[in-house]
Structures are given as C-alpha cells and as structure tokens.
C-alpha cells in the first residue's frame, strides 16, 4: 500500500492515510536552521504548505514564525513523523517539543555524494 499524505483545510493539518495526524498551532524547536538568527528557532506552526513522503519519513514545509524574534516564513523540509510499514500504514508522529533539524532537499550537501 502506498502512503497517502496531504495537507487539508487551508493547511490546517496533515492527513496520513485519511487520518488527521499533525496539526497547526504547536511549537517546534528548530536547530541548525537558517530560518532566523536565533540559536534555536521557537517555531509556531501556522500552516502546512507542502507535504511529502521520503520513506519512511513523512515531511512537511511549514509556514509560521519564530516567537522569540518574530521572523516569519516557510521552513525547509521537516520530518513530522514516520510510516515504517506502508502495508500497515500506521503513523508515528515526532515529538514536536524536541529539537528538529530542517533539511534542504539538496543531495550536494550530503557527505560522500
């Protein structure tokens, strides 16, 4: 079974296999991001702009702002959870309060490539 992922209701939430899994309005801590000048970005998720699957990861680019400095914009790709077994389809969300590392999807930056 393929994993079906989309954002709905103006980006209010991410649906994974027709189940509401990730919502806006949570705070995410982002590290090593160039979203703003803060050492860690205290990021309020206001809307999911893009969603994607990079098995087993479910990823999203999120619109929002850093509540420490006020910088607003859209994050690079963030892992919001995983579907380890596509046949079972179960989604395991990440803990948004822990530290996350947004990634640009550029292979050039990866070691060994």
């Amino acid at each position: 079974m393929t994993t079906d992922v989309h954002q709905l209701d103006d980006g209010a939430w991410i649906s994974v296999n027709d189940s509401r899994e990730v919502n806006v309005s949570d705070l995410w801590l982002l590290a090593r991001s160039d979203f703003c000048e803060c050492e860690t970005t205290d990021f309020l998720a206001e809307g999911f702009v893009k969603v994607g699957v990079d098995h087993p990861n479910i990823e999203a680019r999120i619109a929002g702002q850093c509540i420490a400095c006020g910088e607003s914009g859209v994050t690079d790709w963030l892992i919001v959870g995983r579907v380890v077994d596509p046949d079972a389809g179960d989604f395991y969300g990440v803990v948004h309060e822990s530290v996350h590392f947004p990634e640009k999807r550029t292979r050039l930056a990866r070691p060994g490539e």
């Binding site: 103006d10 980006g11 209010a12 027709d18 809307g47 006020g70």
Partner: protein, 587 residues
C-alpha cells in the same frame, strides 16, 4: 498538476454530493469508508458541512447561507428549533450553554455538534421554509452579502435585494458554476453608506450613476486571508441592475477558466488580479466572457461612505433604532461575538413576529436586526427582557466586538476566541472609557491568519499567536491598529506582536488612555493612528497584566474541547454514533 482536492472534485462534486451524503447519514458515521474520509469531508463542505477539528470527529459545523442576511418570516423559528434539537454536543460552553446559533461576518448562520445521522431531518426542516445549506462552504458561489437593510433603507439608491436574490437563484445549484477553483465571495450594495463591504470580496457591485441611470460599478479581487490582504480593484465597468447577473456570470466563468487549480494557496482571484491587473481583467472579461459591450465605470458614491469609516457617522453597524423608507423602523440588536443561545433565538423569532413583520436580518458585524416595526410598537419592543441581553444601545466595546470560531471547533485557529472576546468586552466595558464621540470602536479577534473575524478592518485588530511567558508557552495575540473601510479603506498596521492574551485588555486600556491624552480636538481614532508611525504607536500600546483573568492561556488546541471538565484529548467521546454514544476506537 491539479491538487488532490481537485481530483476528488473531479470524481464527485456539486449537487450530486447530496445523494451520497444522505446515504451515509442513513447508514451512520461508520459507513463512510475510512480511506475516503478526507475526500468526502472535502465534498460535504459544498453542502455546508465542515468536519469539526481533531478530538471532535464525527461532528460537523453546519452553515446555512441566508443571502444578504435576510431571514424571512417563519424561518428564524425553524433555525432556533434546529439549533435546540440538533446542535447540542457532549459538553457545554460556559458562556453560551448547550445549544446556540452563530451569526457570521458573511450574514450566514453556523451550528455546531451536528451529527451526520441527523442531517436528513435537518435538511427537511430547513428546506420546508426555504432555507438551505447548499454552497455555504466549498469551492463555489458563497453566501451573497450586502447592506443588511437592502430594500428598506433610506440611504439606498438602488434596491440591491432583488439583485442579490437573482444572483442567489441563478448561481446556487447551477452546475456550470458549481466547481470553481476556490471559494467565490460576492457583495452587492445599493446604499451610499458602503455597508456591503465590497472592498473585501472577490466580486463587488457598488452603487454608481451613469448617464443619469443608477446601476453598479464593479470591483474585483478583494480578500483578507493568509497575510495577503487585498482591496478589490476597480475594473472600470458599470452595469445596470438587469445585467448584473450577466457580468457576475462572466466574472465567475473567467475565474473558473483562469483560476489556479494546481495550488490552492494561489487560487483566489486576488492572486490572478495581482498577476493581470484590472485592465487585463476587464479586457479578458469583455473578449471571452460577455456578449455585450461593457460600459465604462459610472460615478460612484464612495465619498459618502460612512460604514466603518472611523468617523462615527451614519447608521454604521445598524445597531439601534432607525427609520426605514416606508415609515416603519428597524431595530438592530447587539449580539456579543455573534453567538445567541437557541432559546434566545426562539424568543427573538417571537418578538420579531409580535412587534414587526417577523423578518430578521443578519449584519456583517455579527448582529441581528428586527425589521418593519411600526413606530407605535417601539417602546414595548424596547421593554422586552430579551433586549437587556441583546441591547439596541450597547457599550461601544460590546457592539464593536467580533470574534471567529477559534480553537473551540476550528482546525486552523491558534487560540481560543469567542469566550475570550466576551471576557475582553465585559472587562473593557467596566474599566475603560472611550471619548464620548466614539460610539463605534471595533475590536476584531481572529484566531489565525485566515481572518474570518476580518481583523484587518478593525480599529483594534487581534490575531492569534503564541508566545512564552515565564518560559511556558501561552496563547497570545498580535495587535494591529487603525483598519477600516469607507471611501479610503485601509488595513490595520500590526504594531505590537505576540502579546500574552492576559495582557491584551491592559494594552487596550493604555492605548485608549494615550489616545485620549494625545488626540487633537475632534480627532478620530483612525486619523490618530494614520498620523503616527508604527514605532510611535507601539509605544502607546503598553501590554500589562490587570485584574482581568484569562482561563484559556494554555494550549486550547491540545484539548478535545477547551471547556470540558476533563479536556484531555484522550478523554474525547468522539467519534460517536447517531445517539451520541462513543464508538469503539481502532487503537
């Protein structure tokens, strides 16, 4: 590539959704295949049903579209009965009880906690008196808005009500316009006060005179959502009332053809207007979508607009007692944040029948108007106990309050809104005194950037945010100032960001006091704001704690219902069956 929503719409959309909806209702919540939930919930919107947020699965918000906010005699009683019988959820709201109606900023009605299984009965009751939920949400012609006293107003130059009614009848259920790239919001106004709010609609008809004939100028591309606020732009077209539907058909066909179906965030016509500009918009309309020569714009009446102009003139929010053009009166009642209990709604229906014609209208400021009251009935009407709670002479802070749905039910909202704005208004009424010449002072609280409470056109704009207080995340608001409509509409300047929600009343108190101390003689609040830069204004807004208490500082979105005794998400009874009994979970 067309979006996933477009794919679902291609499969089933528009009128045909109804038979599926009724079949699911007949068989119960569990009959909707789990892997089709998202598709069906997206489609149900077209029939006015919006699946409530996480923790409230199987419950729907139902929107009833009443064009121009006109509730005809006999309809309000049915609305109240439906609210009382079907809009009762598993927990009460501490301010509003267990069943209520929300009067919206687009002159519609919203009910919550509607169960799928009850929808056939509700449709039957609504339709028996000519009401419908059709196209109240979804990608199509939405409820048409306008001056709420159209057809009965002394300030009206053209009776806009037959035009609004014609548009409603032409475009509701019309398969040619049923599946647009995105929502399509239309305003029609015939009065010289500007209360149709055309500037913030996708398509606006505004009164204008051409060669001695009265008709409408046409504006296109307004809207407030997603931090992308736009004022509708003049496309240099005048149309007589009898051709308004043809131009409206042409404009919505243009939107259908050229609107962006690949990216829903870029789909509204305001973005096409950004790309094309008004001249090309007019040219394409002329060349491809109408079969007659468009007239150039006539002379408008915008220099007379008083509605939400900051000038404290005119009938503005329609609250109070005002004479109609037939010698009767209309009596506008303040409904704080637009929410009225079901029992009060039924009482209002009785009063409207007893003292007026039975007709009630909804304003774009979440208030209600009792129509057609003969002068000799006014005193008795004003003595009715219901008017103690819904006053025709309210405090400016009560009448100026607008709030969206918020985290109580909405997926998108960041913060709690309605109950918070009720508490703000009460505190401000008790603690803050506006200058005597400011009867209208608008405070709009929107839970997110979707801007359903239209915060950008308020004197004080509040928008949902988060911040940290003593290290802990709390609900907060951005504060904007000086927005409004009128001849020269302007959006609020956002001057103070991420203010903890419990410090907002103190901030407004300080702002009002600073305004009173510093204003020139007779200077309006809006002019006062316009004359100052953002840094100066930010200094006048000094957030601080007061004796105001905010019970909703925690993350209300993480609860299944913010006011439930046990509000933990895991304690949610949802989803439930048709009797409201919890269904077994898959987990």
């Amino acid at each position: 590539m067309p979006s996933k929503v477009e794919k679902w719409k291609d499969e089933v959309y528009g009128n045909e959704i109804r038979e599926h909806l009724l079949e699911f209702a007949e068989q119960g919540w569990e009959s909707i295949p789990e892997d089709e939930h998202d598709a069906w919930f997206e489609r149900f919107k077209w029939w006015g049903l919006y699946h409530q947020r996480s923790g409230q699965e199987s419950y729907f918000m139902m929107r009833i579209g009443t064009p121009n906010g006109v509730i005809k005699p006999g309809q309000l009683e049915v609305i109240g009965e439906v609210a009382k019988e079907y809009a009762t959820g598993p927990a009460d709201n501490p301010e509003f009880g267990d069943a209520y109606c929300d009067w919206t900023t687009r002159q519609s009605i919203q009910l919550h906690w509607i169960k799928l299984e009850d929808i056939p009965e509700i449709f039957e009751k609504l339709e028996s008196v000519g009401l419908t939920t059709q196209q109240a949400c979804g990608d199509s012609w939405r409820n048409i808005v306008g001056c709420p006293v159209a057809g009965k107003d002394k300030h009206e130059h053209i009776d806009a009500w037959p035009v609004a009614e014609e548009l409603h009848e032409t475009f509701k259920g019309n398969d040619d316009y049923a599946n647009l790239p995105r929502k399509w919001k239309v305003a029609v106004t015939g009065c010289d006060e500007g209360c149709g709010q055309g500037d913030i609609n996708d398509l606006a008809f505004e009164p204008a005179e051409k060669d001695g004939e009265l008709g409408f100028n046409v504006r296109v591309g307004g809207g407030l959502s997603r931090k992308e606020a736009r004022l509708a732009r003049d496309i240099d077209v005048w149309v007589p009332p009898e051709q308004a539907a043809d131009v409206a058909a042409g404009m919505s066909a243009l939107f259908n053809e050229y609107g962006d179906r690949d990216d829903r965030f870029n789909a509204r016509i305001k973005f096409l207007m950004d790309e094309w500009g008004p001249e090309k918009m007019r040219q394409v309309l002329q060349d491809e979508f109408v079969d007659f020569e468009l007239e150039t714009a006539g002379e408008d009446m915008r220099d007379q607009y008083t509605y939400n102009s900051g000038g404290n003139e005119g009938h503005d929010d329609h609250v109070g007692v005002h004479e109609q053009d037939d010698g009767n009166y209309y009596v506008g009642l303040n409904v704080l944040v637009g929410r009225m209990g079901a029992d009060d709604t039924l009482e209002l229906a009785d009063i409207a029948e007893e003292y007026g014609s039975g007709e009630v209208r909804l304003t774009q400021r979440q208030n209600v108007i009792i129509m057609d009251v003969p002068e000799e009935n006014l005193e008795d009407l004003k003595n009715e106990p219901l008017l103690e709670d819904y006053s025709p002479e309210p405090s400016p802070f009560m009448r100026g309050s607008i709030a969206c749905t918020g985290t109580e039910y909405c997926s998108l909202s960041i913060v709690e809104t309605k109950n918070r704005q009720v508490r703000y208004a009460r505190w401000l009424k008790d603690n803050v005194e506006l200058p005597a010449d400011h009867e209208d002072f608008h405070i709009h609280l929107s839970g997110c950037t979707a801007s359903c409470a239209q915060p950008q056109i308020a004197d004080v704009s509040l928008r949902g945010m988060k911040t940290r207080k003593d290290g802990e995340p709390v609900e907060a608001l951005d504060i904007g100032l000086g927005g409004g409509l009128g001849e020269d509409p302007r959006f609020a300047d956002w001057v103070e960001m991420r203010v903890p929600a419990d410090e907002v009343p103190g901030a407004i108190e300080n702002l009002v006091n600073n305004f009173k101390d510093r204003r020139e003689d007779g200077e309006t609040f809006r002019d006062f704001v316009e004359a100052r830069d953002e840094d100066t204004l930010a200094d006048l807004v000094e957030p601080e704690e007061t004796d105001y208490h905010d019970p909703y500082m925690h993350n209300t979105k993480m609860t299944w219902y913010p006011y439930a005794e046990d509000d933990d998400m895991q304690s949610s009874p949802a989803p439930t069956n048709g009797a409201g009994e919890p269904l077994p979970s898959d987990d």
